[in-house]
């Protein structure tokens, strides 16, 4: 059975001097792929390759059976949204940050800004609603990480690519984060790819592990 996201013989390089990494695999609907491996093994680059922010040497990725080259770059990226390990905040308030993606044509064609979703998301991520008026540049690391995930969820992606989203979170907000992600996955027709060092991803229902070593492995 074809998964929601498949990658076949995906070959890429993390840097000019590093060996190529070759990966094949697939992710089922509502599943989370947990990417693990030592630092420098290409975990972040793998996520960036999937988002087409970093060029692949060769290979294909399919989203619901559709070849990735059938989408122009921006149209692909709005479907597979990548959230960096240290997400950048735009200048302005947290609300400005959540609204900013909706100024982009590709986002506006897919989703509408919904205040109820924002408030629900804040509650479930254990962020106070008053945070909306705060200066986004003054948030703590843990707050920034959760605001960045919420900002990504709002644009309605099919696949979320999260690079160590729980690194700056305490135990309580980690559980809240996983509950939020599980709720997001449960809506169906979506999947999660996540780089994680810890074991706490077991809070998600359906996970698959991808271990990156030297030269890449298959799942």
């Amino acid at each position: 059975m074809a998964g929601i996201l498949e990658f076949k013989d995906l070959i890429f390089r993390a840097g000019a001097a590093t060996p190529v990494i070759s990966l094949s695999g697939s992710i089922e609907d509502r599943q989370a792929l947990i990417v693990r491996g030592p630092s420098g093994s290409g975990k972040s680059t793998f996520l960036r390759v999937l988002a087409r922010l970093h060029p692949a040497v060769s290979g294909t990725v399919r989203l619901e059976g559709q070849d990735w080259l059938r989408y122009p770059g921006p149209e692909w990226r709005v479907r597979l949204v990548y959230v960096a390990q240290k997400p950048a905040m735009f200048s302005g308030s947290v609300l400005d940050n959540l609204v900013r993606p909706f100024e982009l044509g590709a986002v506006r064609r897919r989703a509408e800004l919904n205040m109820t979703l924002i408030e629900e998301g804040l509650d479930r991520l254990m962020l106070p609603r008053t945070i909306l008026k705060q200066d986004a540049g003054r948030l703590s690391g843990g707050e920034t990480a959760r605001v960045a995930v919420l900002r990504a969820v709002l644009v309605g992606p099919q696949v979320l690519l999260l690079d160590e989203p729980t690194a700056g979170l305490d135990r309580e907000s980690r559980s809240a984060f996983y509950a939020f992600m599980q709720g997001w996955l449960a809506k169906g027709k979506r999947a999660l790819v996540m780089v994680s060092h810890g074991e706490d991803y077991s809070l998600l229902k359906d996970t698959h592990i991808l271990n990156l070593g030297v030269g890449g492995v298959e799942v």
């Binding site: 988002a51 087409r52 922010l53 970093h54 060029p55 122009p72 770059g73 921006p74 149209e75 692909w76 990226r77 709005v78 479907r79 949204v81 990548y82 959230v83 960096a84 240290k86 997400p87 950048a88 735009f90 900013r100 993606p101 100024e103 982009l104 044509g105 590709a106 986002v107 990504a152 644009v155």
Partner: protein, 265 residues
């Protein structure tokens, strides 16, 4: 009409070496190590300007349209190469795009000024065209270099923001729009600032030259007004074209940022 130029004879010109001796003494006393470049620079100034004097005499006498066009285009080419020195933030200086931007802005603004405003007889009078186009060129060269440099500096400074926008499906234009705006602003600001203080701080070179040549200051002022406004227009057009053409080079065909575009080469 007042008297013409007070000429400088060969003997009088030779006296200007006194000025070099003064500058050289300063360098020697403070051991600045500038003696050699000073002497070399002095020789070059004499040789280059003397040659330019001969060339201009020849070109003015001949007043051939095609020769004028070729000369102006050569000047644009040299200016587009020279602008690279003012763009330390740009890893791969787009000489071709700079040439296109300068060519378009210089010819457009130069044509408006010489044909619509000054309207000499014949319409391609070398004595008008070459200095006017040269002044446009010298100023828009600085403008485009500033704006290009600023574009790369802005994108590098906002890398996280630009990448985040891209990851939400921004097109290259949507991702760098703010940086482009800042870059064009940076290229235009010096000429706009000079509109504010012109004549108050120092007399502009062109006007000074006309006054030394015996022109009525009021006529010189009219020329200077035209020159100031044409410089502002040329800087605006040149920056717009160059920044508009070169931001796309920072992205690959897939619309993702090229790493080598923003890393220092």
């Amino acid at each position: 009409m007042t008297g013409g130029v007070v000429p400088i004879s060969d003997w009088q010109l030779a006296l200007s070496v006194i000025l070099v001796v003064i500058a050289g003494t300063v360098s020697a006393v403070f051991r600045l190590g500038l003696l050699r470049p000073l002497v070399w620079g002095t020789v070059r100034t004499f040789v280059q300007l003397t040659l330019v004097g001969y060339v201009l005499t020849y070109v003015f006498a001949l007043n051939n349209l095609y020769l004028i066009l070729a000369l102006v285009t050569l000047m644009v080419y040299i200016a587009s190469r020279a602008a690279v020195r003012r763009t330390p933030n740009v890893p791969r200086y787009p000489a071709g795009l700079a040439f296109v931007a300068l060519l378009a802005s210089t010819y457009l603004v130069g044509t408006i000024v010489t044909q619509l405003i000054i309207a000499p007889e014949p319409w391609y009078s070398a004595q008008i065209i070459i200095p006017i186009f040269g002044m446009i060129l010298g100023n828009s060269m600085n403008g485009i270099a500033l704006s290009l440099d600023r574009l790369y500096a802005e994108v590098r400074g906002r890398l996280g923001e630009v990448e985040t926008l891209l990851s939400f499906g921004a097109t290259p234009w949507e991702a760098v729009r703010d940086s482009v705006r800042e870059a064009i602003r940076a290229g235009m600001t010096p000429t706009i600032n000079s509109l504010m203080v012109v004549g108050l701080v120092s007399l502009p070179g062109m006007m000074t030259g006309q006054i030394l040549a015996g022109a009525d200051p009021q006529d010189a002022v009219r020329y200077q007004i035209v020159v100031m406004l044409m410089i502002a227009a040329a800087a605006a057009i040149g920056c717009l074209i160059l920044v508009g053409l070169s931001y796309r080079k920072m992205f690959d065909s897939d619309g993702a940022l090229r790493q080598e575009a923003y890393e220092r080469g």
